[in-house]
């Protein structure tokens, strides 16, 4: 056996060390920022903090949550995610189902319609025409400006479509013989059978719409910004001067620890759904992307 040879065992040991170091490197920056957010202002400013908080306190967090704009943005984000994910999944499934029947004459002109969608992945109008369109449609400062343009992700639709194709034809035929129409077949058979895939895609869409910040920045007024947009402006241009900071607070607060807290709050929802995401997505991606 090759793995009993001495050079290979040496390689194996080194390999384990390299892999461990690299993966720790993926996490360390996040831990450092987390430590900063819990540390006292003095410790942060004098660079004493590495991976463990020094002068532990929660002032950065209580201060962030005391900000009305912050909570409002959080609500905007939740609303946007819920609306965006439900609408997006509905349109994605409704589009993927008929297209999954394009082979074998199940849907005449299916290939052409599929290319109609795929073409938009290859070529696009770009920023300015999109911006002018939203203006012309009078969607400026409306939640629909954030939800509608990306509602149908062609990439996710193709993943869904390829998954639907793996469902045995017999299931559909049996249901059609029983007198069910396509809508019933979709909702009673296809959707229940593909729940793991649907969950995967829904999680992807959730993460994507939680993370989206640029559309909020260009289309929405400040009061209606989602949290990602607010964080983007706070992190890149932080400002303590606008609000009065009391004497006792200033000992624990610096711009840096405050910013660290905001970074961590922004990352938290993703970290919370990550375990679920991770369980599903490997299977989901491989099923959809690597078509046999």
């Amino acid at each position: 056996m090759y793995y009993k040879s001495r050079p290979y065992r040496l390689f194996y040991a080194i390999n384990i060390v390299i892999l461990s170091l690299v993966s720790i490197l993926c996490l360390i920056p996040l831990i450092h920022v987390l430590a900063l957010s819990f540390s006292s202002g003095l410790a942060v400013e004098t660079n004493q903090v590495s991976l463990w908080p020094i002068g532990f306190n929660l002032d950065s967090y209580s201060r962030t949550f005391a900000d009305g704009a912050f909570l409002e943005a959080l609500t905007n984000s939740v609303f946007r995610v819920v609306l965006g994910v439900s609408l997006g999944m509905l349109v994605t499934i409704l589009t993927a189902y008929p297209l999954s029947k394009m082979d074998g004459g199940g849907l005449k002109g299916g290939k052409l319609i599929a290319w109609y969608f795929v073409f938009t992945m290859l070529f696009n109008g770009g920023l300015i025409p999109n911006y002018i369109l939203i203006q012309k449609l009078h969607l400026m400062d409306s939640i629909w400006a954030l939800v509608l343009p990306g509602a149908l992700s062609i990439y996710n639709m193709i993943l869904m479509l390829n998954f639907f194709r793996t469902i045995p034809k017999e299931l559909e035929e049996a249901s059609l013989i029983d007198g069910a129409g396509h809508l019933t077949t979709l909702f009673r058979i296809y959707i229940p059978v593909s729940l793991p895939s649907i969950a995967t895609i829904a999680l992807f869409v959730t993460v994507g719409s939680w993370n989206a910040w640029f559309d909020g920045l260009i289309y929405m007024h400040k009061e209606n910004w989602p949290l990602s947009t607010l964080l983007q402006t706070m992190i890149s241009a932080p400002d303590l001067s606008q609000k009065s900071v009391s004497e006792s607070e200033i000992a624990n607060l610096t711009e840096r620890s405050l910013r660290a807290a905001k970074i961590f709050i922004g990352a938290l929802p993703i970290l919370l759904v990550y375990p679920f995401l991770q369980r599903f997505f490997v299977k989901g991606i491989v099923v959809g992307a690597v078509k046999g």
Binding site: L176, A212, L231, R259, G266, I285
Partner: protein, 295 residues
């Protein structure tokens, strides 16, 4: 009354409409790259200027510099983001303890899911002049502080390195899937023939990876002018515009902040066209050499 087939077309309708409005209408809007577009005059009322905007793009020094920056950053990213994941997948594939492997995967996939708003904030904090790298890590090795976020060349390096840091883990997935699909009897046969692990890697593993590497590489060609708007926007500052400004950030500043709509659209159209040509060519190659099809 809709027939059984009719309902299928009805299901497609919302998707077709949304795509038409939010993807095809903006393509029509690209005509403003041939106009001196004024929002209050609209597309129908604005003055037509022919190729003037394009001439300006290819005459102005700043826009030429921006195109070069984009091409440079995007191409290096394409190479790095192919090599690092393949090497990492090969190393990870050697691990026999399933638990350890799973843990590593969990850790390296994570940054992919965090946005550049978050990661940009982290990167700037760590690499700024007051950050932990410049105040603690570099001095430990006796190295002078480095202006990562203010020196153009260092900035490019930071952009490429942090992009790889964010995406390499996730990019290994397809390669790991391909590695897992290799027929174990090939290795057994190689072993019987007296091959060591190195020979097995060279003659069994690598050939099995070639098709998927070709697919990933060719499809990445569509990104030759995609240097990563989200990342650059969240990392850059006026000090590094010269080396770090890219087409997308330039379009944003010139178009939306300075309201030079025609010029910004022209450079955007240039980018879209190059991307389109590259992806079509790449798809032809991928379908010919790796038998790849979208559907």
């Amino acid at each position: 009354m809709l027939g059984r087939k009719g309902i299928l077309y009805a299901m497609l309708l919302p998707g077709i409409l949304l795509t038409f409005i939010f993807h095809y209408l903006p393509m029509i809007g690209l005509v403003i790259s041939f106009q001196n577009f004024k929002p209050w005059l609209g597309i129908t009322g604005s003055e037509w200027v022919g190729w003037e905007n394009f001439q300006t793009v290819f005459e102005r020094e700043d826009s030429l510099q921006v195109i070069w920056n984009t091409l440079f950053i995007a191409c290096v990213k394409i190479i790095v983001n192919l090599v690092v994941p393949v090497v990492f997948a090969l190393l990870l594939n050697e691990v026999r303890q399933a638990r350890f492997k799973k843990t590593i995967q969990t850790l390296v996939y994570l940054p992919h899911f965090l946005s550049w708003v978050i990661l940009g904030g982290i990167v700037i904090d760590i690499l700024s002049s007051k950050g932990i790298v410049n105040t603690v890590i570099l001095p430990t090795f006796g190295i002078d502080p480095i202006l990562f976020m203010a020196d153009g060349n260092w900035f490019r390096f930071v952009v490429i390195a942090t992009d790889s840091w964010k995406e390499f883990g996730f990019a290994t997935i397809v390669f790991l899937a391909a590695l897992a699909g290799i027929d174990p009897s090939l290795y057994e046969a190689a072993e019987v023939d007296g091959a060591g692990r190195w020979k097995m890697t060279w003659h069994v593993t690598l050939p099995a990876l070639v098709p998927i590497v070709i697919v990933v590489a060719t499809l990445a060609m569509g990104n030759v002018l995609n240097a990563g708007f989200d990342q650059i926007f969240n990392l850059y500052n006026p000090l590094v515009y010269e080396k770090g400004d890219i087409i997308d950030t330039f379009v944003y500043r010139v178009g939306l902040l300075s309201s030079q709509f025609g010029l910004a659209t022209a450079i955007g159209l240039f980018k879209s066209l190059i991307g389109f040509i590259m992806i079509i060519a790449a798809y032809q190659l991928a379908s010919r050499f790796a038998n790849y099809r979208i559907f």
